[in-house]
Every structure is written in C-alpha cells, then in structure tokens.
C-alpha cells in the first residue's frame, strides 16, 4: 500500500517556464513533507520542506504548496533551468506520532523532470 504517490513518472518543460510536480498522500498522520532531488548515480539531495501547519513555503525558485484537506502537495520551480533536470522525490513523515521513536521518511516513486533549453 503506497502511502505517498507521485502519479506522473515524467515531466518535460521548456527552460524559463514553470515546472509543477505533484504528490498525493493517504496517511493523515503525516505532518512533515519534503522534496528531494536526485541526479543519476548520486544520493537524494534535500530541496525544500513544509510542515503541516503551513500551506506554503518558498525558497528562491522553489515553492512547495500543501493542501491538507486534499492530501496533496506540489513543488513549483520558477523559472525552470536545464540544471533542474533530475528525479524529484516527494517524502513524508509522521513526526508527532513518531515522537521519540524515529523519523522515517516515506517516499513516492519519483518524477523525472526534463528541462529543455
């Protein structure tokens, strides 16, 4: 049973345009969400996160939006650059529930983003 789903295996956008990557989750206990970027033959690199008490978090060209009622979050990249081409993973954790017992991340399957120049 996949608790975090990234339904788009791949996305292709033109350089300079907006990239929108989507993620859905099913576990209502999740209260912390993260996006990681992964280049081939490398490990995932932390990009941006959001707590469930917020609905938006922005860091430079990257913005994450959280819709708790819909159990949906999205990552916006504006403007997209060729160097953004990578696999993007959505991840979630249940911090309050896991208090004192670890903070394991539950990942989606990833979305391959290709930014064309």
């Amino acid at each position: 049973d996949q608790q975090v789903k990234q339904n788009s295996p791949s996305l292709s956008v033109q350089e300079g345009r907006i990239s929108i990557l989507n993620c859905d989750y099913t576990n209502s206990m999740f209260d912390y969400f993260l996006w990681y970027k992964k280049y081939p033959a490398e490990g995932p690199t932390f990009l941006i996160s959001i707590s469930s008490i917020k609905d938006k978090n922005e860091d430079g060209r990257f913005t994450v939006f959280l819709n708790k009622s819909a159990k949906h979050l999205s990552l916006h990249i504006v403007p997209s650059q060729p160097g953004d081409s990578a696999v993007y993973f959505c991840a979630a954790s249940a911090r309050l529930k896991a208090w004192g017992n670890g903070n394991k991340l539950v990942f989606g399957a990833g979305t391959i983003l290709r930014v064309k120049s």
């Binding site: 996949q2 975090v4 993260l34 990681y36 033959a41 490398e42 490990g43 995932p44 690199t45 932390f46 996160s49 707590s51 993973f89 991840a91 896991a98 208090w99 017992n101 670890g102 903070n103 394991k104 991340l105 539950v106 990942f107 989606g108 399957a109 990833g110």
Partner: protein, 116 residues
C-alpha cells in the same frame, strides 16, 4: 564538511553470497537511517539508529539483513545469504536533530547491489 559516504559504490555478487555495506554519517550526526530503492521504484525505509541503538527496524525485510552501528559512528548492513530480490540501491542518511522542527536527513550516494 564531509557528507555521508558509502562503500562500496557498486557490488555484484552471486545468490547465496554475503555482502556488507558500510555507511559513514556526517560527523556529529546521532541519527543514521538505511533506505533501499528497488527497480526504480520508491525509496523504502529499512531502519534507524540513534547513536548505537536501533530505534526502528520495522522496514527490515527479513532476518537475512543485519545492521550494526558499533560505537555510534559508522554503520554496516550485512545481507547473508543474498537473494535475487535484494538487488537495488541502498542509501544511508544521517541527521543531527531528531526533535527539531527542521531535522533534515542527508543522503549518501548509495551502494548499487546486484545479485546474480
């Protein structure tokens, strides 16, 4: 500051053999996690150490997998005997502040294991 390192980067073994993966976390990070990605699917949690103690090993697939973190520094993950379905990329991650609002797990480059 050095990041999370993993050794070896690749390992090809035959079914039934033993393989030991090593992870060196970022210095000072008490939390160490093991994850695995199989066949390009989602990255799945295996287990979590706080210092030398296993905090959560709910993701370990079976008793062929043994993880240790003696002394609370580096960790090893042994697979014995290896099966075909154990093939995948094994990631290690470490973090500093489990209870902080901004705990971030930093991942190593992974070990690519292929069992033939």
């Amino acid at each position: 500051e050095a990041g999370v390192t993993q050794f070896p980067s690749h390992s090809v073994i035959e079914k039934g053999q033993t393989v030991t993966l090593r992870c060196d976390p970022i210095s000072g990070h008490d939390n160490l996690y093991w994850y695995r990605r199989v066949m390009g699917k989602e990255i799945k949690f295996l287990l979590h150490f706080v210092k030398e103690s296993k905090q959560d090993e709910s993701g370990m697939p079976n008793n062929r997998f043994l993880a240790e973190r003696t002394g609370g520094t580096y960790s090893t993950l042994k697979v014995q005997p290896a099966e075909l379905e154990d093939s995948g990329v094994y990631f290690c991650a470490s973090s500093q502040d489990l209870y902080g609002p901004t705990e971030t797990q930093y991942f190593g480059p992974g070990t690519r294991l292929l069992v033939l």
